[in-house]
Amino acid sequence: MPQTLFDKIWESHVIEDFGDGWALLHIDRLLIHDLGGAPALNELKRRGLKVRNPELVFATPDHAVSSAPGRTGETFPEGAQLWSGLRKMTREAGIRLFDLGEDGQGIVHVMGPELGLVLPGATLICGDSHTCTNGGMGALAFGVGSTECVHALATQTIRQRKPRRMRIRLDGALGQGVTPKDVILHVIGKFGAAAGVEHSIEYAGSAIRQMDIDGRLTICNLSVEMGAKSGIVAPDDKTFAYLAGRPFAPGGKVLEQALLHWRSLASDDDAAFDRDETVNVAEVSPTITWGTSPQHAIAIDDMIPDPSTESDLDARATMRAALDYMGLEAGRSIAGTKVDWVFIGSCTNSRLSDLRDAARFAKDRRVDARVTAWVVPGSLAVKRQAEAEGLDRIFRNAGFQWREPGCSMCVAANGERIPPGARCVSTTNRNFVGRQGPHARTHLASPAMAVAAAVTGAISDVRCL
């Protein structure tokens, strides 16, 4: 029977089939971070259990550590215990930790691919919903809760029910000023925040094949914002070239063996999907969100939508509440809305290519006097490489703050928040109520669009810079 890529990876990891779609799956990589790591390892201990395969578990602090220049694990006091707990517990368990200031540290979904820990055809989980990012490498990767994380630490497996399969073909060429972030926001705007619930999404099509790995990671990153636990892109020569020489990627004879396997990882031509969609990316404009769900995405030259045109009453009320929270008026153009903050960072858009793109627009420009703008690189490796290329100087000269790697204002778990009522254009993935701080207003956009907002002081079309 023809199989999808997802089915192939799933089936090759089934240890036991429980019937009814349920299986015990082997987990090849388990990543843990400061927020969940020590609590999970403590819970394991409380139950009198041990980490089954510490050699397959990797850790880094990212969520609750300060991003201030010169930071330590104690700069954000409320996170200090989580950080020191992660150090202590990983040492005890024999888990490799990429600690602050050490090669490899970074946002967990940025450091994984970068180190070559995330491999095509592998299964990977982490107690974080954006684990789906790693699907950009051709891995089956999804986020889990705390108890499931403890389960995986103890057994190196997870019990899962096979989701339905969805394919989104992205065909065509990206227009000027349009990035993978715009494409995926557009897709979520089109299909909705629940379109992927109980599905695993495969992204295919000519635009995906053209896209570099960083772009694919960005696309897969927002799969969970469509409700899907995982998103995946079939690995290809771009993937293999990306992996070549990375610290944890295979080399030599084993690599040849791996490549043979990796090249078989694609959906069969006649494989059936429960839902199949095609989007022509040539139609995508630079895109930005207006509301409090990633599905509230519109083109930069669109008007803020009018709830009264929405027929579903619950959805209409939700739109009204979103407009109210965001302090916006229906029917106005989104462009020109004044902003107070700009945040460039997060596992969505903090890789080197994102920073290069942002720097291209920031060069020889100035951040508007009323805007506070931050750049938080996704990992120490990104930060060092950006500095080697002089990107940090471009940002600093333009008036951006250049900070230490971590999640920072994406989730405000480390005390770095947008003040109440302030408006932020952010390269992150969630514009939820209170996500960047209580009463903070978030507009999701690409790094280029974030720079456009920073230098003009308002939501602006990057194509007009």
Partner: protein, 209 residues
């Protein structure tokens, strides 16, 4: 974990769509996580006003719903972050059952790890339940053994729950114990896999290029 068999009591409706787990529990509340103390922070952005006082429009602040163990919610409830603290917080405010048209996948799975029952029903039934919750004051009964919700007016609605999950909830078991019993099968699989996919197991790491 407390088994779930029959839960009886009030139901309150929150019909906004896409209520996410950031809204259910703010991340900062989880950095000092004592999971037993999260109840008062559950849904705080909706539950309290900017000055910290209770928002009287929020159903759980009204005497009729204050101790309701059942939440009827808009579709895609619990989307977003994987934080299991969302389930702990809702349970901390006394909830045992959430009924919605659809749920965020990770939240849905987390419920079962903690003795919370998430029930999926079609929109028309959700609307009916929400109406009864608003208009009548009697108790709802959620019976997992019979997979049935009974409304205050006596209407019954059947629901389906995956049999494996249903058994585990009825018995009050999370997955960990069940899987530990399969430790040797895991060992056998891993030994074979080490030979078949050595690149997965060679995690010593090399110096960066």
């Amino acid at each position: 974990m407390e088994p779930f068999r029959v839960v009886k009591g009030g139901a309150a409706a929150l019909m906004q769509t896409n209520i996410n787990t950031d809204v259910v529990i703010r991340i900062e509340r989880l950095t000092n996580a004592d999971r037993s103390k999260l109840g008062r922070f559950a849904l705080e952005a909706l539950r309290y006003r900017a000055d910290g006082s209770e928002n009287p429009d929020f159903p759980f602040n009204q005497s009729k719903y204050r101790d309701a163990p059942i939440l009827i919610a808009g579709r895609n409830f619990g989307c977003g972050s994987s934080r299991e603290g969302a389930v702990w917080a809702l349970m901390g405010m006394g909830l045992r059952c959430v009924i919605a048209e659809s749920f965020g996948d990770i939240f849905y799975g987390n419920c079962f790890q903690n003795g919370m029952l998430p029930i999926r029903l079609p929109d028309s039934q959700i609307q009916m339940l929400a109406r009864e919750a608003a208009e009548l004051s009697g108790a709802f009964t959620v019976d997992l053994e019979r997979s049935k919700v009974t409304t205050p007016s006596g209407r019954t609605v059947d629901f389906t729950i995956d049999p494996m999950r249903r058994e585990a909830l009825l018995a009050g078991l999370d997955d960990i114990g069940l899987t530990l019993a399969r430790s040797s099968a895991i060992g056998v699989w891993q030994s074979a896999d080490r030979l078949a996919r050595p690149w997965v197991w060679d995690t010593g790491g090399r110096p960066a290029r």
